[in-house]
């Protein structure tokens, strides 16, 4: 994997510009969208197809494979809030392992870690915040590689029961 791919979600055009620049400075590959709905679309997750998902598939419903290593989202957005988006991601078999970070101008982080958010950043987000992202990405990378190894083992050794 050449670069980590971060999906940033924010309804503010200025904050989108800022977060994109901050992430690119850290050498992330960045996609920016302006709503939770667009984020889910980008991730290949469409509402009524959530139930039909197979585990371990990324963007099973679309032809293209979209690999996103981290999602960073604004909390306060019209329509689907960052909280709604977080929950939808964690409820999805194919997306729940993607680390999610929440940003907000208000101190709203109570309950977010229980819902599965890795971190909370108070806006305006700064370089020092973005520098905290790599460990979360590396942790997921290691887990994905472990999963990959376990899957391969499972495929080749059908008779042997799963370890985990």
């Amino acid at each position: 994997m050449a670069q980590f791919h971060v999906l940033a979600v924010d309804d503010s055009v200025i904050d989108r510009m800022l977060i994109e620049r901050l992430l690119k400075t850290s050498s992330f590959h960045v996609t920016v969208v302006d709503s939770g709905t667009k984020a889910l679309k980008f991730l290949g997750l469409v509402e009524d197809e959530v139930r039909n998902e197979k585990p371990h598939s990324i963007a099973a419903e679309t032809d293209q494979v979209v690999e996103v290593n981290l999602i960073i989202t604004d909390y306060c957005m019209p329509g689907m809030t960052g909280y709604d988006l977080l929950r939808k991601i964690k409820e999805s078999n194919s997306l729940k392992d993607i680390p999610v970070v929440i940003m907000s101008s208000e101190n709203v982080h109570q309950g977010l870690t229980e819902e599965g958010a890795e971190e909370f950043f108070l806006k305006p987000v700064q370089q020092s915040d973005v520098n905290k992202l790599k460990p979360h990405l590396l942790k997921t990378k290691v887990k994905n590689e472990d999963d990959l190894i376990n899957n391969k083992r499972r495929i080749h050794n059908n008779a042997i029961p799963l370890k985990n």
């Binding site: 503010s12 200025i14 904050d15 510009m17 800022l18 620049r21 901050l22 306060c76 101008s105 305006p124």
Partner: protein
């Protein structure tokens, strides 16, 4: 013709007078050879965004005794966010006061806040325009703005 010293002094005064806060420094740190106009671009975006929001606020506050406080609060919230993101501290402060008035459903307070915001916005816009003009002149003359 502006000198670098004048630019430094001017920028410093903007911080001292509270027009700018540390977030503006953060913006400047994000500017480099690959993104040489980053600060101007973000601030220009802020102007466009702020002007749209101010127009909408005028319309809403113009309802006088029928003010939709929730809507006004939502608009001010956006302006508070964007001004905070570029370090426009005085604008951000007025937004906070404005939001409090919305919560109290204080019509007079909202009227006053709208005037304050328009004033602070106009002021900071002028300051930024001067700042950018100075930088541009120095750059055109072959110098470079200090970071």
């Amino acid at each position: 013709m502006y000198s670098v010293a004048q630019l430094v002094e001017y920028t410093s005064s903007l911080f001292q007078q509270g027009f700018l806060d540390d977030q503006f420094n953060q913006l400047q740190l994000l500017q480099d050879e690959s993104n040489p106009n980053f600060v101007v671009e973000v601030v220009t975006l802020f102007f466009e965004d702020a002007e749209k929001l101010l127009n909408q606020l005028e319309k809403e506050i113009g309802q006088e005794n029928n003010i939709d406080f929730k809507r006004v609060d939502a608009l001010v919230h956006q302006l508070k966010g964007s001004s905070s993101s570029i370090g426009a501290q005085r604008v951000q402060r007025v937004c906070i006061a404005f939001k409090n008035y919305c919560e109290e459903k204080n019509v007079e307070g909202c009227f006053k806040s709208l005037q304050d915001i328009k004033q602070e916005y106009t002021l900071v816009k002028t300051k930024f325009e001067t700042l950018f003009k100075m930088e541009q002149q120095i750059f055109a003359a072959g110098g470079s703005a200090p970071r």
